[in-house]
Each structure stands twice: as C-alpha cells, then as structure tokens.
Subunit: 265 residues, 2 copies
C-alpha cells in the first residue's frame, strides 16, 4: 500500500495494519480526528506511585486510561486493541537502560505489567489547525521542539524530575486564541504553562531543544509552551525501574476515542 492510502483508514484498520507490520513509521497525521496516546508500561509494584505522579502533574501527564494488571487489552481505547502489537515501535528498558526497540512486545510481556495511556498534543494541534492557527513544526515538516525546563514536576514516590515542554511560536493574536482553544482540552495537556521569555523557565536557547527539532521563531512572534508527554517518560527512566516499556517517540498508539470527546466546552 502507498503511504497516502493509509490516511483514509479508521483507527481499527490502522491498528490492524501496524499489527501485521504494514506500517512501521511515525503516526503523525494518521486518523487525525482520533486521540493518539503516549504509553508507559511498568510493573504493578510501581503503578500506584506512577499514577499518583500523573495525577499530580496533569498538564504534562494527562492520563487517558490505565489497564488492569497484566491485561494487554484496553477496550476503553478500542475493542480489538492489543497493547503488545498495535504500536509501530516500542522501547524496552531494564534499570533505565534501553535494551531493545522492537515492533511488538509479545516476547517482553509480563503478567504484572500495567499500561498507562497518556494524552498527546496531536489532539489539540488538530483543533488549532481547524481554527486556522498555523503550527510551525508541521509547516516546516519537522518534529515538535521539546525542552527540558527548569520547572520541576511534583514528585510522587520515586518519580520526579523536570517538566518537559513543547514550544510553538505564534503571533500574539494566535497565541491568545490558542490559549482559549487548548483550555477546552484539559484532559490532553490543556492550556499552555508558559508564554514569552524562555529564560524564565530555564531555557537558554530556543534553537537547541533537548528532543525533536528546532523551528523558526519569526519577528514579533511569542513562544508558547505546553506540558509535554515526554515528561512522564523522563520521570520513568530517571526512576530506573527494573523493567519498563514505552512507545518510541512519534510512534504513538492510535485509539478509537475522538479528539472532540476531550473538549470540555
């Protein structure tokens, strides 16, 4: 199949294609009306602490769903969905060190694993674009710039660390409208956490993001910063549990949930 033909598929069809190994690329732009999620999969012994960490940091860690212990299905995200096979690329860690980047985790699955599905900015970006607000990294064909900031998360148990934020430069009028629009999505990062001077949140150079790609910031534009789903991954890897699995950045899980279901007004 040509890449373009994948863009008309439903979430269930896309998951089936990914499960068969027919799609092994990043998922940006696929099924754009539907919620895509970050994954953190870890042993039940750490699950209560990690869920408390997410609850305390809802802007970077908006929790969409939590699985039952050991259950690779999450029917609330999709009737057919299988956490072990439906993401195009995973990362497997032991004691905080990456040991594999497989296309499924059937061989790595354990009966004590709990899956956390965490919201992703694709949801609110879709709404910003529908409202006519340009997203620079999409226009430039790049990954969103992500910065490890000086803002600390609220710790829970062994989980802590800096808040990672995405940045999108905008004209002032668009920034104001973007604040209004993303405020409608508190369950998926919600309103920005900072606007303007990057040095106030410990960022010294906007052209050097820690993750993703730099984008152009033009004359008269204001940088707008949102909590980023890399934050819980960073907290997870910093805590170095003996075992955990995440999706690979950009290779998200596509769910049956509509973005519009996450708009509170």
């Amino acid at each position: 199949m040509e890449t373009s033909s994948f863009h008309n598929l439903t979430p269930a069809e896309l998951r089936a294609a990914i499960r068969r190994g027919d799609w092994r690329k990043p998922t940006a732009g696929l099924a754009p009306r539907y919620v895509q999620v970050n994954l953190a999969i870890l042993p039940a012994a750490h699950a209560a602490d990690f869920q408390r960490f997410c609850q305390r940091n809802p802007k970077p860690c908006p929790l969409i769903a939590v699985s039952e212990v050991g259950d690779p299905r999450m029917t609330m995200l999709g009737a057919d969905l299988d956490i072990r096979t439906d993401v195009p690329r995973y990362r497997v860690f032991q004691h905080g060190e990456e040991v594999a980047q497989p296309n499924n985790v059937l061989d790595h699955w354990r009966d004590d694993l709990v899956t956390f599905a965490i919201g992703c900015s694709f949801t609110f970006e879709h709404s910003l674009i529908e409202h006519g607000i340009g997203i620079r990294h999409i226009e430039q064909g790049r990954n969103v710039p992500m910065f490890r900031t000086g803002v600390q998360t609220t710790p829970a148990g062994k989980f802590s660390g800096p808040m990672v934020m995405t940045m999108r430069p905008m004209k002032a009028a668009d920034a104001i409208r973007a604040i209004q629009i993303t405020s409608r999505f508190p369950g998926v990062h919600g309103a920005p956490v900072h606007i303007g001077d990057p040095s106030l949140i410990g960022i010294s150079d906007l052209s050097k993001p820690e993750y993703g790609d730099a984008v152009d910031v033009r004359e008269g534009e204001i940088p707008v910063f949102w909590g980023c789903g890399v934050t819980p991954q960073a907290a997870l890897l910093q805590a170095k549990p003996e075992f955990c699995i995440t999706h690979a950045p950009g290779f998200m899980l596509i769910t049956d949930l509509l973005n519009s279901d996450y708009a509170v007004i």
Copy 2:
C-alpha cells in the same frame, strides 16, 4: 464563638477550629471561595485499584489529590493540614460496616493508609450562585437530593457500582447556562451527566432521593443531574475492604485551593 463568626475565617483558621473541636457541624457555607473535598482513606493494598476507579469515572470521582502512603499531611491542600483531625466528623468502617463516627481518627490511623481527596459540588455551586442561578436545596435550607441511578460506573478491580447523581431543578435558560458554567470545572464534577426525564437514568420518583433531601421541582423546570462524590464512597463500601475511613456526609475537608483555580477557562 457564634456560628456567624466562623464565616469570616480562612481555611487554615477553620481547620484549626475543627482540630480543637470548636466546629462540629457540616461545612457547607464555610470559606465559600475555597475547595472542599470528599475523603476516602484506605489501605495501600487497595489504593491502585481505587485510583484507577476514580480515573475511569472522572465525573462522579474527580480526584483532587492523593497522599503518600501513611502520611497524614497533604501539603498540596494546606501547609498545616492534618487528615486525622481536620474534618468535623468521620466514619470508620471494617469490612464495609460502620464501627465509629469520631471527630478525629488519631486512634484509628495506620501507617499503610492512603488518602484520596475528591472534588465536591460546593465548588461549582459557588460559581452558579455568583452567576445568579438559584440552587433550590440551598434556597430551601436542605441537603442536595442524591439519587442512586441505573447508570453504572466503569469498574476497576474490586470497585464498581451505580453512579450516584445530585439533582438541581432549573428553568431551561438557567439549565443551559449551568451547563456552560459547570463545563468550566471538569476537575470538580464538570458538566451534567443527564438533563430531563429521570426515568431514562432509572429514577422512578424525584421526591424520594436515596441520600439528602427532596426539593421542590416547579412547573416548567427541568431536572439537571451531576455526578456525585457519594459514588466513590458507595463503591468503596460495596467493595468492603477490611478497613477504611471517610468523612461523614456534609462534613467536608476545607482546603486552601481556590475554587477559581479549578476553572479551565
């Protein structure tokens, strides 16, 4: 002190008064600009399941904060706050049976307890009143009517059961405005879950609420139903853990959080 003099106290002053035993009545109307919360206190062995239950049922179970295991302080709710002493009346349960209604739980505290602070409708009622929308049960000096409905919660582990809803009758224009206003507060029950015909959610008689008091529903008014914080308590008691503590209905924990902090727009 006269009752009226309590109405000018700060949350910290009110908690201190409650701690000393100077206030042993329900907390409705005290520190009205501040968030009051429902409490569920249970052994750590049940905490992951209970938190997953709250995550899956955010309308009746909006989680404001979760304590560390065994820690009776929750500084995110108030620097001085002590979960064991700062509620005017508690209920202590063993295997789902109430064994005491003490004014503090110093003698019942255990090192394995986790406290869940769950949002309460006082927050959005304050906002409705500020917008000029009359709240019938307040006008009639009664407790809000609460109904055990035919709508089921999404289970998690051993926790399940019917959704309990509060009902407020309103004229249509006020109901529309109330939907807009409470949508701003997704972290504190949020928008209604039902409007209109009570039989559609398994309620046969609006004059016979399972909890609280009946209120007058007048000609041309529409009943408006919100998820109720009694839902997680009911799920907790149905699961019959060997031990748990809750606040007594109406005797809430007063926090330092502003209601307005929970408005997303």
